[in-house]
Symmetry: none
């Protein structure tokens, strides 16, 4: 004799409670009638409660049985809901992801990801935080972020990184600057200008790459200001305090009196990458990497 109710008992009980007929219930369950009889009897023994009245050829529920039927229906429904829920969590459609990003990722990559995610997994919550490369790497390692959008060539051990967006660089100059896309010959024309760049701390890869671009053109730029916000840089350019070189994607989204000259022939590209902790098991992270890398 068993000492513990099992879900099997509940299925059997429900079938009998619905059919009020052992043979028919047994058929529905694909088991034999005697088997069903013994299991229901056992159930009544375990609970020490009579669930069915079997008088005079008729099967009917007792008061306790009627109560139990409602409860078991609830539990069975709840259970199948849980199973669906589990599947969603496992597939990364339900849950939360914490995203860090550089400002320049907000122009295209992040909105794209959020739209895809909303479409495929509407139940996923996202939290967004604009952070420097360095702060993102730190947060990833300390499990304060699930995913970061950075401009870096390498990441520390334990983290992984993959490029997701390659962009050209563009010169940013005041709106009435004497050179524009049509009469632009090459970066060497800018050798005498003051440069306003993103600070090295904010993204050293960016900084080194911009330096590389100028060196290839045969000069070392005079860097007069460094900032961590595109808005600040554009403001300074607008006020003729210098010119800048930034990822082309930044030309959308700001309303400024500056113009962009895209450096199409330059071999250096602005590469935006995703970074994450290799052993992060958040299923939503996996889902995001799928969306980003396929």
């Amino acid at each position: 004799m068993s000492y513990q109710i099992e879900l099997r008992h509940f299925s059997y009980f429900l079938a009998v409670a619905e059919e009020l007929h052992y043979r028919k219930a047994a058929e529905k369950l694909f088991i034999s009638q005697p088997g069903l009889s013994t299991q229901i009897k056992q159930m009544e023994e375990i609970l020490s409660v009579k669930l069915f009245e079997r008088d005079k050829k008729k099967v009917s529920l007792t008061a306790a049985g009627t109560f139990l039927k409602g409860e078991v229906e609830f539990i069975m429904n709840h259970l199948s809901q849980i199973k669906r829920h589990l599947k969603l969590i496992d597939e990364g459609h339900l849950g939360e992801i914490r995203i860090g990003f550089l400002g320049s990722a907000m122009q295209k990559v992040i909105p794209n990801l959020l739209l895809n995610l909303k479409h495929k997994s509407p139940e996923v919550h996202t939290s967004l935080e604009e952070l420097s490369n360095h702060a993102q790497i730190n947060a990833l390692q300390k499990d304060k972020l699930d995913i970061g959008f950075v401009r870096l060539a390498r990441v520390p051990n334990g983290l992984q990184i993959k490029p997701v967006f390659e962009d050209t660089f563009s010169l940013v100059v005041p709106i009435d600057f004497h050179i524009d896309q049509s009469n632009f010959k090459g970066i060497h024309q800018m050798a005498e200008e003051d440069f306003i760049l993103f600070s090295q701390d904010y993204s050293s890869l960016y900084y080194d790459t911009v330096m590389g671009i100028c060196e290839d053109a045969g000069f070392t730029p005079k860097v007069s200001h460094k900032s961590v916000h595109a808005l600040t840089i554009f403001k300074l350019v607008e006020n003729r305090l210098g010119i800048s070189i930034v990822p082309t994607a930044l030309q959308y989204g700001f309303k400024m009196n500056v113009k962009f000259i895209e450096l199409k022939k330059i071999k250096q590209k602005a590469i935006l990458s995703v970074a994450w902790k290799a052993d992060n098991r958040n299923p939503v992270l996996r889902q995001c990497l799928n969306l980003l890398l396929n």
Copy 2:
């Protein structure tokens, strides 16, 4: 290989989820560790979801496992409630209700409810448990309580809440304190006193409201002690370690050398509310809500 989850799996899963250690969990369940391992593995196969991460000697819950733990706790509690309920029905008692409450509800609201209930439904069994706001909300969600008496402004999704008793606040001061109801001018007179309050953990709404009362009077109280029991607070006041502000209802039922000065003109009130799970189908709960809200 079995194709259906059983309650046995749930017990085993809970043990491992609590211990995060297979051998210890197996001991607690009085079965062998290999048996437990295979059952958990089977469970993961049936649900097609990984529930535990067993990396590098450490067992931990996955996102799906964490979710399932909460759900299984709920189901197990609900199940044991069903069993008790079945027994009561079978024995001719009509039902049972499990009540949680803050100490201050015992002065008036709870005795009233119990008398009404006894009169209208003599067959109902009640179980009473004094708990903090937070513990009550938890217990309601996990189906360990049917109804709670709390001081909260909001409750989580899935729960419902309704005010049942509005009380004034009263100052509690030593019996021979130089101010009493007749020569009391206003709270500002207490600006220099030490305050002994219910701890913020016990009821943050109470704490914030009391702070609000003092701020409205133009000072920030010096809080020297925090407690979770009215008795303790009154003892401290009696021994001149400070004064307190509490719901006026608490003045009945304690025999202490303290006196109450009711703050009749203060706009803040001490509001006691009932909380319950919206989908709780215990008929006795409905009966109690009727008695309380009509």
